[in-house]
Symmetry: C2
DNA sequence: GACCCGATCCTAGCACCGCTAGACAATCGA
DNA sequence: TCGATTGTCTAGCGGTGCTAGGATCGGGTC
């Protein structure tokens, strides 16, 4: 059995390598540059090997998205836990979210802009995605205000953050005033 | 001179045909289906003809985006003009924006998701884009609140709308509660 | 009215894409 | 040691955006 176990380990290791390489390449040169040929060359295997791990390019994007969601959830919870008081917590949350999007644009795209074949807002939604949303909900629920459904409030706040993240990065909005936009958002949206 | 004028007219007419066909095809089957070959076939010319009008596919997307921006600006101004009172005006504006995005998903993508090679938030930004933003600014500036820069307020409000539009359409957010999200957004963000 | 020449358009092809069939080699179990 | 299974590769399919170069058509001039 030990031989099979070793092979399984090596296979899992290679799968991690594929995802990590795809992510790295995407961050360096954008997702357009992540072709199956280039990816195969970088991991030093032939193209069809990719298809023994993933159904296609979409699934590779999906894997990067899940990895990113887990990281984002961790970052959000960490930021929320060190801040004291609802206001500081929400502000830290918003800053952390936008910071993550700015520092990991390709991962952010995999999560929210590209088609990674993942289900959202459904029962079959993968756990990391649910958890990232839950991380937002945990901090935002307490500032939703009376009579406002916490989930709905979180959706709206999240949408605003997502809009700021994408429009800024796509050059639709000057990047300098991000901090002031965050303050405005927190001041107005949250009930403190 | 009349012959040249006729030719110019025909050329301009064909250019409109290209843009309209690209838009139609994109709305019917998504932008992935808008290939230069299919587009050429639909307008009943050969592929290279497209390149005598546009530098490439990007510029065609950009042309659709500009057309869409002009329409959106018109729709926003129309909605704002019939509502009386700041609150009704802002609500109508938000609804109209989201409605436009939902009814013209491909055009909306051309404007804000895809790369149409257009400049944003700069001096050389094409007029229709500036005008669409101005349409938002006209109605939103009056509810920015004291001491808040109207442009910045508009950016934040716009980002929230953009987030709602894209996340809803991409299935990241259940579409049923849109109206309640709009109300929450207007209630909290606008100073009435 | 005939001819030339420039504008216009098309055929054919480039390099690349995602993905897959089928040949081949290495490894395992009997 | 041999057969079967597993794993990997080469080669190729139909598609993409884009372009070079030849054919054709029509207006302007003699």
């Amino acid at each position: 059995m030990s031989v099979q176990e070793r092979k399984q380990r090596e296979r899992a290791e290679r799968e991690r390598l594929i995802v990590a390489t795809a992510r790295e390449l995407a961050e360096q040169q954008g997702w357009d540059a992540v072709t199956t040929r280039r990816l195969a060359e970088r991991i030093e295997y032939s193209q069809p090997v990719l298809y023994s791990h993933f159904r296609g390019k979409r699934e590779i994007i999906g894997a990067v998205a899940l990895e990113g969601a887990a990281e984002m959830a961790t970052a959000l919870r960490a930021a929320a836990s060190v801040a004291d008081g609802p206001r500081a917590r929400v502000t830290a949350l918003a800053r952390t979210y936008l910071d993550f999007a700015a520092r990991n644009p390709a991962v952010y795209d995999a999560m929210f802009q590209l088609d990674g074949g993942l289900a959202f807002a459904k029962e079959e939604t993968p756990q990391p995605l649910k958890d990232a949303f839950a991380a937002l909900l945990d901090s935002l629920g307490e500032v939703a205000g009376d009579g406002v459904h916490p989930g709905r409030f979180t959706e709206v706040f999240w949408a605003a953050l997502h809009g700021l993240a994408t429009l800024t990065r796509a050059g639709r909005m000057p990047p300098e005033d991000t901090e002031q936009r965050v303050e405005l958002l927190v001041d107005r949206l949250a009930v403190l």
